[in-house]
Symmetry: D2
Subunit: 435 residues, 4 copies
């Protein structure tokens, strides 16, 4: 992923040093296990840790070896042999490259998932704070982009909170999907390596042993992982899209924070654009697009082919880095979002009371009118208001058929905002729990 959309902690997970360090640890833990069951001298395992622990892996040297061997793991082992000396011959005993590569990827992806979960927690905290801040800030609810009935801005954020709580749970499940360890040899039969080694390494790295691997950890796990990231990214797109809508000139109910010195446009000095949210919309598309190659990776040939490798070298870092960046950016946007309650009120009132049309409909029905008849009465008074010709309440009061069943006072009662907000507490309790 390009630096523009990378944050250091997540990016560092995917740097060669990190990968080589994890490789070394897997090999060294495997050696410990082999020492424990008597295959390898204990002293050798200790020497490996001693010499390896201090290593600052020389990426350029390893790359140079790979140029010849055309095999990255062999290059790494050759390098270790150079650095560690004769004890290096006890490394990788009975293992196959994928034991190293796949277990390492499991470590990287679990750590990446941990960061994503942490990001989501920060976003949830921001959403919760702002939701309670605006719990009762009235705002118009819209379906189809058209004014519907009143909500509060806090409810919008509560919905986002609930959605990202689900995202969090999905990330936790996705993490469990890929946090497995395979040290099972060339075709997964443990022919040349005792299964206890796998158990030991898994325990040390916080992973679960893969029940049955076939040289590789099966890729349905990774497909599920990246598909989950795609779904989480789609939720980011949803909230970003909401902000973009709210910042539209005609709506202007909320606005991304605009820092000192920031310029909206090289040509139009007046502009304040929701560029961060738009940016997130694009990032969501990217992350979503990476779910597909991950799913195509599942059907590897027989016990394995290596077609997944080029895919994962790219989407492993790219999807996690982009999503980390997007979650953090979204948390920041929410945290600093400039909210305009006065504009919310202005928009809420814009339709001349039409937002109360359903309540009038229900009242007419409760007075005994057939639903169809009530609908007609309401619609014929609503349409002129929609065209800007008059106020809904006034027109209803003048409609003889309405008058026949609802008094002016009864009609006025139907235009009460509190009526719509009476269950906000109930919903907040469902979303955030009783506080």
């Amino acid at each position: 992923m390009i630096p523009r959309y990378s944050r250091p902690e997540m990016a560092s997970l995917w740097e060669p040093q990190t990968r080589l360090r994890i490789w070394f640890e897997i090999e060294a833990y495997a050696c410990d296990a082999l020492a424990e069951i008597g295959v390898v001298p204990k002293a050798a395992a200790e020497t490996i840790w001693q010499k390896g622990n201090g290593l600052n892996f020389d990426v350029a040297r390893i790359d140079a070896i790979e140029k010849v061997t055309k095999h990255d793991v062999i290059a790494f082992l050759t390098y270790l042999a150079e650095e560690i000396g004769p004890e290096a011959r006890f490394l990788h005993l009975g293992m196959t490259s994928s034991d190293l590569l796949d277990t390492c990827l499991a470590v990287q992806l679990s750590r990446a998932a941990d960061l994503l979960i942490k990001d989501t927690d920060a976003l949830l905290a921001a959403l919760k704070r702002r939701a309670f801040e605006h719990k009762l800030t009235p705002s118009i609810g819209r379906s189809h982009g058209i004014h519907a009935e009143p909500v509060t801005f806090g409810l919008k954020l509560a919905e986002a909170y609930a959605e990202f709580s689900r995202a969090r749970a999905r990330l936790v499940a996705a993490r469990a999907e890929i946090a497995t360890c395979a040290i099972s040899g060339a075709v997964g039969t443990f022919a040349n390596i005792d299964p206890r080694v796998e158990d030991y390494v898994a325990r040390k790295l916080g992973l679960t042993p893969e029940p049955v691997s076939t040289q590789i950890i099966p890729r349905d796990r990774h497909a599920m992982f990246f598909a989950t990231l795609g779904v989480v990214a789609s939720s980011i797109e949803r909230l970003s899209t909401e902000i973009r809508h709210l910042q539209r000139t005609e709506v202007l109910e909320a606005e991304e924070y605009f820092s000192e010195g920031q310029k909206g446009s090289s040509a139009m000095p007046h502009k304040r654009n929701p560029v961060l949210s738009e940016n997130l919309t694009g990032l969501a598309r990217l992350v979503r697009g990476m779910a597909l190659p991950a799913m195509e990776d599942v059907a590897l040939w027989h016990e394995r082919d290596i077609s997944h490798s080029s895919v994962e070298r790219v989407i492993g870092p790219d999807a996690t880095i982009a999503l980390d960046f997007a979650l953090a950016r979204l948390a920041d946007i929410i945290d600093k979002l400039v909210v305009y309650p006065a504009n919310m009120k202005k928009n809420l009132d814009a339709l001349g009371g039409l937002v109360h049309s359903q309540r009038v409909l229900l009242a007419l029905t409760q007075k005994g009118l057939a639903r169809e008849r009530a609908y007609t009465l309401v619609q014929r008074n609503a349409m002129p208001v929609w065209r800007g010709e008059g106020n809904f309440l006034d027109l209803l009061k003048k409609d003889a058929d309405v008058k026949a069943v609802l008094s002016d006072a009864e009609l006025e009662d139907l235009f009460d905002l509190g009526y719509h907000l009476k269950h906000v507490d109930f919903i907040f309790n469902r979303v955030f729990g009783a506080n």
Copy 2:
């Protein structure tokens, strides 16, 4: 989905009759709840059940009404008013169309998930039976399509069993994602409907109340559902691809059952093609492709827009019907798969013992050779065998440098098949549990 790929039980879930029946039940349960809290006369709720229960929903009549109203739910309610009479005015009180549509979709998708889980169980049963049948049928393991080391055919099926066990767990999770109920009114505020109605209907239908809905149930749930189907389809593709490979003329280790009268080719009477597995490969692509629109559906505008509707009208039935068909077909393929152990043995022996090369490598290392040196010794004896020039064991016995550390008897011991199969029991225990 076209009839060719539809099975009746799943298809019937998506027929208008089923949908209208569920719609009626939601409306009638809501009426019961309203009666319980005193909003609606109990007698009216009873009448609604009485008259509605016997209804054979007249789809043509409802379609005719929709032609005028351009709104499917209003057409349905108008139809109910015609059939049920005056009590119909107590239907849909304070509800919005999406309360009906989304809750109905939740019922349909949960039932669909139940069928998919049942399908997966049948597939698992077939896999388990065949896995134990061939637990110790030796077979060559292949990486990159190239012979690697011995496995058993049972291990291949055990891997598939483990993979579809994960698929099952994912389907269970996906079911939980979408099994929620929303009866919360026009923008989800319960302005015109008591939250107890939602609770009641949810309970009656076996759903969970949606913590916060915004006219609609949030679409991240459905995105996760369809993404999961895409991952399950990808596992189907994997196993199908394995079978297609095994049936290749040059491999012929297994074959789809070929019924009497079946013809492989209109032009070539000798052909027996793995057409069922190929078909599943294509179906997997289809189901996977439907995950994308579902993810794009998440970012609806504000409290809702209806762009998800056309997507779901198509992929709701199509993805579930295709996957149901694919799982059932795969179970049948596995169940009847013709397995050729003799051919497996023939292929296993084809490389003149090369499959034992790693073991030789390890033995040389254990005798004290540096890994690099051992690798060179093995490779120089392997390459002629690869080119069809000689038998691996013979060449090793003649190699002076090998001879220097390994006696003929020691070398012969390294060429033992049992060595590779000694942990099959252990793996089976991990996958299937102790029996």
Copy 3:
């Protein structure tokens, strides 16, 4: 595709009768060609046409045969033998099933492309008419959803016209991609069939002979075809999204036609929602999602495998029917779109003249100010206006630094709408040509 999104002409292309008719024609033309080169008696070829031409293909009978043979083409040929009698033995001579299937698909997809091109022409006509109608209807241009500078509504439609002109050209190219004929036998070598047959059949059906087929027509052609449909669908999404934005309550510059009796919401009688455009957004997602399986179909195994078949049985009809429906619906929406020039003017004026900020910036620069300095002067007067505190022109007139270089009269000149529209004719000429 479900009936809801199907139009009869396109749907009929994909009905069994149509397919069987095309199959018959391919077989009969092939017979003619074989008669011409003396392989088959001319009388037999004539009999085949005579008896076949009148056939009302009995789909149920053919399905029944397929149940036994598990092969659709063999079932069809068996049926023809039943109906045509002994001359039927001259049918399919040296051909393979795919010769029939693929050439038939080419005919169906070319006809589908013809309909899509016709649909696009109708849409272009509607766009052109409305573009000229509103060529000089001023309207605010928006970037990032924020008011930028004036445009006209006609310009928006001119852009759409230009975009769908490109869509048309792409459809023409996509048609050429798939309009090829293959009658080359089991593996494309013409072993059992003279290449002149292919030439003859191609000519008769308006197709080009496939230069080299391998039993099948290569699937990169179909991938390109469906990818193109995905791009065209994305342009539909763009224009639909524009309409959805314009119909938003706060914007209301245009509105989908709302017919008598139509109901916007079961709960809220006042609603008039852009449901047709929203529907098109969803259909675009569907069509786009079908490009992926088509691309995955390209890598068939060796000379062919049949995994593409299940994909194409579904997306062949679904993508073309949905796109046909969407193009026609969009043409209708544009045709009847209710446009509100007064609201456009109101929105244009809403920002208190801020839309002229760039022109002021340029004027300051032309007076000799450094760009950075000019930007600062403009922005400091723009920001209060943005917050609703004052009118841009008034503030500029009061700013001493601005005053120092621009007189009141000069400033007023900069706020002229005509300035922005002076090149509309030029653009229309580029898009529509000189009229």
Copy 4:
């Protein structure tokens, strides 16, 4: 794209220096055009070229400015002002950022397309050379992975040649799609900039003026571009998959070149794996996955939103670099592919003559048997051979019903390989033209 899959020429296209250089040229050409029409002093335009031409753009300095302005183009212009001095105030006059960004992207993508076309030419050359080399090397054609009838290895390559000729034509068309220039100002109206500037800059950069832009160049163009790359990538996957199949142990008809020192497996020294082709399979998945976000970018809001930007910053370089790498790697694989005609012959003969079954079927038909009857006769002799029980020719000779119509000599004639290859020249002429 990661360095592993990057080639220098394509990668350099996407480096900041290249982009800044193109930005400068666009600005400077625009200045020339403005000087020509008298808006800007000619001397200023000259100074800009003089001072700008020598610039080694200081990316760090520009990044530092962007940190404050949060706008990349403004940062660039500020930097230019620092470097060029007072004449810099004539830069960007009446232009908007996207005039720069989109025109620059057009230049980058066209140059990228040129490289991809060049890559394809190299691949075509390799395919042609190897196709003619193996024009008459017999090889078994396979459908469904099952032996069908004879082809030649040259025919396989001829098909690939024809497919990549189409890929080339598609790349040429895709290049034309995106090679447009927009210098039309904030909302595309040329309000502050004369259309002649656009014409001039377009001409200088080898682009076509965009007929109607709306601040941005419409993104259907880019969607078509990236969709095309996805289709080309799919053809790469097809040919790679063919090679992977041919290198399978049981098939071994061809093999990727295996260099000195290369190691196939860290554990199994005997392995020679088709890792390059597998790698291409993965890269194809990646490039394909990028078509989706590009299609989603089309529906930008109103005159523009910036959500496409993050997508293009990633897929612009990634898709072109990966495809460049893949095409070059594939050309190299084909160039050096090790072909084993003897193994092809061995496989061709493996089915005991079954590959001639269709010809026998046709001969029986020509002798007057009904097709159905002939099919039965052939199949009953083919099935035992399929099971390894006998030779097809021998069995046919012993079948009384066959004997009744075909003599032994006639039967033997039907088993002639030349029969299948007689039209190879014809096909080569169609694909490569008469030489």
